[in-house]
Subunit: 357 residues, 2 copies
């Protein structure tokens, strides 16, 4: 085909234009993708001080996610499990899932006035009136009775509604803030950092499974199906008008503490975690189980050694003993022996809470 001078010129211009346009396209694409590594290079854990704990976390994530690394873990096996109370949020002076049970007692007594004079409910009323010393009167069976009365013998939907209402109104006694704001910013960063690197994050809590599931997604970005907790027997029922629902029976199915943590993890996940974090003797078996797997594994313990910004309790490392979130010296020594990371709240965390100035 013969081309006129004008056509030839257009062909040349068109060809040049196409070349230039595709070069521009490549440059624009390159610019687009160039921002990705730049973002990845920003500090993923800005609330952490530089130190052994932060380095261990960052190194672990790099080692397990870099293709070709001898410690590489395929994405589907990147399971990370976190205790909640004392690991992701404040557990002092009392676990919030227990605080919930105590603060539900007035409503319980209103519905059944005869409970007002019956222990342990009468004792709880004294505590709520400000008699802190009455707390010591509560035995473990008392506590179980209170938990059964406030967590069971109702439908799942009713329970969820009661918890949601309480969480919206209840305030922590020290900071006068909703419990859901008392999460540790550095641990929130770890959760996000892990998820950004293909890890599936789970909560494995001694607290009530249904309780934690009401807020886990909003507070931690962890959906209900990734919350494992102490769970009761359920009973499938069909309402008179034909609507089926689940009723919470007053019987424990899974006590998600101590050996119950790895047992619950297998029941609900079916894989051994590659990373786990806890803060007390109730987490010991989960950390052992995690670290006991083949390949790269990271187990971590949060040590509450910061009375100023949060609380200081152990009794590990000479810290005051505590019945809530007990961290014994034996656990501390096992951590050191097994190569678990001990996170010092005082030394490792720049900030504890997001609301700090």
């Amino acid at each position: 085909m013969a081309l006129t001078g004008k056509e030839r010129l257009l062909a040349i211009v068109g060809d040049r234009f196409l070349k230039i346009a595709s070069a521009v396209f490549v440059v624009l694409l390159a610019l687009l993708f160039a921002t990705v590594p730049a973002q990845a290079q920003t500090d993923p854990l800005p609330s952490w001080n530089d130190g052994a704990a932060k380095k261990a976390i960052v190194d672990f994530v790099k080692d397990t996610t870099t293709p070709g690394s001898p410690k590489f873990v395929p994405p589907e096996e990147r399971i990370a499990t976190f205790d909640q109370d004392g690991t992701l949020w404040v557990e002092q002076p009392l676990y919030s899932f227990v605080m919930y049970a105590l603060e539900q007692v007035p409503a319980l007594v209103k519905a059944k006035p005869e409970l007002a004079k019956a222990a342990p409910f009468s004792t709880v009323l004294e505590i709520l009136k400000g008699d802190r010393a009455a707390m010591a009167k509560l035995t473990m069976p008392d506590l179980e009775k209170i938990l059964a009365a406030t967590y069971t013998n109702r439908s799942v939907d009713q329970f969820n509604a009661e918890v949601t209402k309480w969480l919206a109104e209840a305030k922590d006694p020290r900071w006068k803030k909703p419990y859901t704001e008392l999460t540790y910013l550095p641990m929130q960063e770890v959760l996000k950092y892990l998820r950004a690197n293909g890890f599936k994050t789970y909560i494995v809590t001694g607290g009530g499974q249904d309780f934690v599931r009401t807020y886990s997604d909003k507070v931690y970005g962890i959906p209900p199906e990734q919350v494992i907790g102490t769970a009761g027997v359920l009973k499938y029922m069909v309402a008179k008008h034909g609507k089926p629902y689940l009723f919470k029976e007053p019987k424990v199915l899974l006590n998600d503490n101590y050996t119950g943590k790895p047992e619950g993890i297998h029941l609900m996940i079916g894989r051994r975690p590659v990373l786990a974090a806890g803060n007390s003797t109730g987490d010991q078996q989960m950390l052992e189980y995690t670290k006991g797997g083949d390949g790269a594994r990271l187990s971590m313990l949060v040590l509450h050694d910061d009375a100023k910004r949060e609380y200081a309790y152990g009794p590990a490392q000479g810290l005051p003993a505590s019945k809530v979130g007990t961290f014994t010296q034996a656990l501390y020594d096992e951590a050191r022996k097994q190569g678990w990371i001990v996170i010092s709240m005082k030394d490792d965390w720049k900030k504890v809470f997001a609301f700090e100035p």
Copy 2:
């Protein structure tokens, strides 16, 4: 700033060039995205005949995933639960998780020769030698005894290794193929179609949870943490050399049949499914529970009415009765009344298995 003639020309050319280049970029981007709807328009369920069942599935997915639709379901709530035996793969002449137990008996007898003459193990040996009539001798307690002997009193790791070995060698008696190839192609398409539309797919099986988890990812693309099944009590143990593991105790924790299905779903997921599929009376409560939620819900039952390509059994709709995967007329009538979709294997499926010509 004064511009020379050449500079002015360059500025104009540069400006025009930028305008053209960005137009090209927009066009290229548009072309890039234009391929997406084109792909979405291909048939997502090619092994299904056009009919009420296929239409119901496609309409449901469109309705629940189209933003602004009154039936829209947010991605995090798109939970779909599937029974396995008879819904995702063949369950006749016997559930493969039971076939596994029977075929493990010779190894059991080899380890403990005294079992060779003790019922029910002696009966199983007769069945395996070809005495089909001996099958009728097995009572429910017999079966429980055999399941306990082959599924429990060993570590999770040992059990997984035994199942994996069996699955690699065992063949179905009719097609002489590995059990893992006897999945229904149309249901595999439904699983993929749902996942491509943001649904999280779960197996909810009466079979052993650990059993199904060994192959669920490979066979269905469903990871172990999305398999809910009949599960036993676990015991956390630490080996002499210090390695922690889980031991399968001979005690049932969750019987994932009938009411156990919705109970297991809440325990493991904590949300009510929006879609569920089953094929027998053991799935009835899961389908009721699913359909009983607010908003758009789809419950489905597979009817085995195709003796030529698979099996025909009920006794719904005059099909022969079966102890394995019983589908009563009452269940069929409830399905029609409640608006559940009944999938006719004969009429709704173009192909049953991927290996068909």
